[in-house]
Symmetry: C2
Subunit: 411 residues, 2 copies
């Protein structure tokens, strides 16, 4: 099929931007405006408002403990939420008086092929023939996000927030000139605006930084950022009704060598910590701890293992407070661990400074620790990556800590 | 693919049988019981309770006048209702402790191919490979009713009540030994139980009779009966929770020559009549009247044309009261009709006696008319078919008329 004559734009609207009929009509106008500017427009939608939660609630009334054997049914159930919003948005566009036409497509109809990993399927390929056909006939194409179809023709979903990944994957497949993520916040901020009053909107961010910043303002599906980085698709994150430049996430952001490298200070609350003391320091011991937790769907975040001593080692890791009791039960059942060596702590929080090159420029870690100490914030754990330094602190210290660091790095 | 070793049963559950989680769990138990008796079980479901109406209501909040250009979006929107009930029912079955497994399939996944006539698509073919594969692995198969997929891979719906047609079509394709329609009434009655207190449940009925009886108790999609007649699939209509034999609809019901042939007395209320006088009695005049009405989706029921006289004729027809004003407007716009010749009447009802052979046995029409006269019920129009005699009467006479005829033919 011949390539499309016009530039293609992919726009994604989240559930909060589609929460009711009035919101849908507004979005429809916005989309028609972009189309009238001469673009091919592909729109990816999430389910309206709290639809996904409501569908899951219905499922939990049928079965109290949703286990992996229900994943296929759950995927098919949840996929309906995005189909409903796609059709309603398409109807809103189709009823315009300018003669602009649209078509709604399910993920499978849009050619989104995935593996069969229900609940968190990954996109293997996008067959774009239908999309190109509809765009060639000047239609606005509305795609139900978050879903695809396996080789076995089963409906799959990409996991919570997966519509972002649908949008980026479509932008890559269609060689779109831009991918716009519309949401209910103005973009990504230097700190959580609920904690730091003068947190600033970040105008440009690298893909790597964005991966570490997901908690600051607009939340994006991490896989969408990975995919955008691989295909080098610039993403702009914007408010769906306010007029604002938002945040642009792209590669090749040029900064001179000497500069302030901290881009933002992401924080996360309600986390807990488990420490296991006197573990045998032998190969496979970590796996024997983390595999049973992973099998029960418990996400582990920061892991710190202290250096071995007399063949024994201590291991600490953080996880959501919601999962703490379940995790302790699982660990108590393990025959590799003596139950009396398991300690836990609640009421913790995570604070990081993020910026490309943070590891290569000396002094950032020291400035972070010194400022926290100055504010009398005790640090319980530390981990670092190429572009991030993270401290685990008491949740009750989080406001003090964030404001202190924001003042230090953003003035 | 080899044929299935066990007998196959198709069961269809309507929206009223799936109105909430408790109802779904009960249905799940019933289905598991049938499966445990050694049958291959295919279940067709409608949308839960009033879901379809609620989805349509959302659509009308977006666009006040739904026209044909929205049909594709509407089909895709409405198809989600059946998918939700299919997945929830499948989850309820999958959570049983007997190790019985089920799988939910959308209409497209179940191989239901249709033409592209959105809103009232017709099934062209059923590709049964997926169904057979799932049944061979001893799974209960739950199919979302009412929907299919066109050659162009667009989602279509079969029209209101279309899940009945899905069930019969699957029963035909799978050579099922029976097709069971579960609903919220016990079956088909000799008269409307709301009008005749001692109306009796009919145990056996021919397909042709059922087509004429649709208003008596369980309502079925007329196309499902046609399809069942063509493929000779016996249908049993039963209450989804009461234990009762219900009504069996099948061919070859044997009755001796001398017998009471009346099977039931269907009635319909809230109908109106339009009469056009002094029409030119020329070819094409009926078409010029009925085509514009059909194009606007107005269903015409009984049509009576009196014999021509001096090249002029009178034409009367009945239609739902809801459509009367719209129909008169359309007729007034016609250049074939003088507006002053259009008369209309509201507040009418239709009463019929139905039974195979009613035309070949003299005296049934006479008995019907005599009994109505005895009850002082005036007859406004009469039409007959091979198996039915129908009178149009005043709606205010309907209770008197039905009870009189029920007493005459059912004692």
């Amino acid at each position: 099929m011949s390539s499309l004559s016009n530039k293609t734009v992919v726009q994604k609207y989240g559930g909060s931007s589609l929460k009711n009929v009035t919101a849908i009509k507004k979005i429809a106008e916005k989309i028609i405006k972009t189309h009238s500017e001469g673009f091919n427009v592909v729109v990816v939608v999430s389910a309206m408002g709290k639809t996904t939660d409501q569908l899951l609630y219905q499922a939990t009334k049928i079965i109290k403990n949703i286990s992996s054997k229900h994943n296929r049914d759950i995927d098919m159930l949840l996929s309906t939420g995005e189909i409903v919003s796609a059709t309603l948005l398409s109807m809103a566009i189709n009823s315009n008086k300018l003669g602009v036409n649209s078509i709604s497509l399910t993920g499978p109809q849009a050619g989104i092929k995935t593996n069969l990993n229900h609940g968190s399927a990954r996109i293997s390929k996008i067959e774009i023939s239908r999309l190109k056909k509809e765009l060639s006939s000047k239609k606005i194409v509305i795609v139900a996000g978050f879903q695809g179809v396996s080789q076995t023709k089963d409906i799959t979903t990409l996991g919570r927030g997966g519509s972002d990944t649908t949008a980026v994957a479509l932008a890559a497949a269609l060689k779109a000139s831009s991918c716009e993520i519309y949401t209910d916040v103005e973009g990504i901020f230097t700190a959580d605006p609920n904690i730091v009053k003068n947190a600033k909107l970040i105008h440009y961010l690298s893909f790597e930084e964005m991966l570490e910043m997901a908690s600051l303002g607009a939340k994006m599906h991490p896989r969408s950022i990975e995919l955008a980085a691989i295909y080098n698709i610039p993403i702009s994150v914007k408010h769906s009704s306010k007029i604002s430049k938002g945040t642009i996430i792209k590669s090749g952001i040029k900064k001179m060598e000497i500069r302030e490298v901290v881009t933002g200070i992401p924080t996360e609350r309600k986390i807990s910590k488990i420490t296991i003391n006197d573990l045998d320091d032998t190969p496979g011991v970590a796996a024997s701890i983390f595999m049973p937790l992973a099998n029960q769907g418990i996400n582990i975040d920061v892991i710190v293992q202290s250096a071995g001593n007399n063949g024994k080692t201590n291991l600490s890791f953080t996880l959501s407070e919601n999962h703490l009791n379940q995790a302790i039960e699982i660990l108590n059942d393990s025959n590799k661990i003596n139950s009396k060596n398991i300690n836990s702590e609640q009421g913790l929080a995570k604070i990081s400074i993020v910026g490309t090159g943070i590891q290569n420029q000396p002094g950032y870690a020291a400035r972070m620790f010194k400022n926290l100490a100055g504010a009398k914030v005790n640090i319980e754990m530390i981990t670092t990556s190429e572009i991030r330094i993270t401290c685990i602190i008491k949740d009750s210290d989080i406001e003090k800590a964030t404001n202190t660091l924001h003042k230090e790095f953003f003035g």
